[in-house]
Symmetry: C2
Subunit: 301 residues, 2 copies
């Protein structure tokens, strides 16, 4: 997609909304960044009102960052990549929103991340941060894998690593599982000294809270802790298998993004790592490229 | 404990509060049931206000059932067995409550369940319903195992069986795991036809919601489904190991209670099943026996 297809003087907003936060970036028609904003989670699966609030809050921040105000939202062509809208009912709910934008185009956060990673071109992407999921888009074909959310799925993600570590430590403290350096690491990380302390800190908490424990799993594994190594191997094996499933559509490019993309790399299979290429642009840029693409389609029609 | 230690004309209230509901039973000093009530969940870990509301709502139902009103709560010696109060901060929170009773004695739901199962005597108990946990009390010694809550622990529980089934089905639908009869069973149970339908029905839901899927695991295993058999074997192995750990305190009696006690039995190890004895009284009765025991101690002091 060529940027000269954008309209002179038009402002664009890219939204990347997920289970832990919502990022908004304001661009001019050359895709220069004019302002950025970040707010709370924007996953319609966990609340439509909160999603809209997070979108508006991050948009307002991005507009102010550029010397504008929320009133100027009516000038914006907005592209929204949101978690959860692969559920048709939730996509319809978001599309029915009385939004403040000039026009609004909505798709999944996976789709916009993939468009961003390959700067508008075809390709495959795996996102491993708080959650985990994969997406590939080649011509008219696409495939989405994983992304079922915590604690149902998201194997190999930060939240999954944290949950598996906490599960093992609680079993170990009751005498059901082998000792692990994760026990002392979780105690120190949470500032507690027994199983009750762990439960009190984690019970009913969000996936983001569990994901903060992932660094302990990587650190313990680096020191040779067998339990941490076992957890990481299981998670990484799933991510490697996911990559190979995405490769069946023969994408020209493959990137991994998210906070765990770098630390997970050494645990992935060599054939997967060999195909890794850098992500070219952020998911918010992908959201804007998606909006421009849709806007041009509609203008041409 | 002899019932003639109770006070002539005194009314007693037994509360069994957990993650899915709160049961209240009103007794006279012969431990005849005068009235019963049930309300929503009463686990301080998930909200103190809700816990107090559920206790009051179930108490009011039990009092009305006996032809009394909530104003008569001031006549009651109340025993409360509550989930979550093994966390010292939460026990203190509950004990600081401006409760409406004549006197109130609080302990864990595990403790009162154990007292009930053995009619006030020493013994061991495993509770497998929505959650799973074990408790043994012999003389001055006691041991509590598991009960760390969904999705941190509670292996072998209804919620754990349901989560494991849903996890496997979602992996299977993405092509990561072997086929299983659980897929069609979960579709039918939830009234959906794809992975998104499962996610939409289960994401962010309570442990009780997951526990409703446990029956599909038992049914599929009965028909020989390998995946269901594997899940049940793993859960049951944990429960059997928990029982043997409780036996180290040499309890005179051992009972299992909760909705899964009966269906799980055929999956448990023979040495554990051989020691199973019927539960003699309900956890609410255990709560009252605890209150009477504490009340007599204080009166004697």
């Amino acid at each position: 997609m060529a940027f000269d297809q954008t309209l002179e003087g038009q402002l664009y907003l890219g939204i990347d909304g997920g289970g832990s936060k919502c990022r908004a970036t304001l661009y001019n028609n050359k895709l220069d960044v004019l302002g950025t904003g970040v707010a709370g989670r924007a996953n319609p699966l966990f609340g439509l009102e909160q999603t809209f609030e997070s979108i508006l809050a991050s948009t307002e921040m991005a507009l102010r960052d550029a010397g504008l105000s929320l009133n100027d939202a009516s000038l914006l062509v907005a592209g929204l990549g949101l978690a959860g809208v692969n559920v048709p009912r939730l996509l319809a709910d978001v599309q029915a929103w009385q939004h403040p934008f000039k026009t609004m185009y909505v798709t999944s956060d996976l789709h916009t991340a993939c468009i961003g990673a390959h700067q508008g071109g075809d390709g495959a992407v795996i996102i491993t941060g708080t959650g985990s999921c994969g997406y590939v888009h080649v011509g008219d074909e696409s495939l989405s894998l994983g992304g079922h959310g915590f604690a149902l799925g998201d194997k190999g993600s930060g939240a999954w690593l944290g949950l598996r570590a906490a599960e093992h430590v609680l079993l170990q403290l009751d005498g059901f599982a082998e000792p692990t350096a994760l026990t002392e690491r979780l105690f120190a990380n949470l500032g507690v000294s027994d199983a009750l302390g762990i439960v009190e800190n984690l019970a009913g908490r969000s996936s983001s809270c569990y994901a903060t424990l992932a660094r302990e799993v990587f650190a313990a594994a680096d020191e040779g802790d067998k339990v941490a190594v076992g957890i990481l191997r299981e998670g990484a094996a799933y991510i490697s298998e996911m990559a190979r499933k995405l490769f069946t559509l023969e994408p020209a490019r493959f990137s991994m993004i998210g906070g765990l993309a770098e630390p997970l790399q050494k645990w992935l299979d060599a054939d997967v790592v060999a195909r890794l290429e850098p992500s070219l642009a952020a998911p918010e840029t992908g959201a804007v490229l998606f909006a421009i693409q849709q806007h041009n389609k509609q203008s041409a029609a």
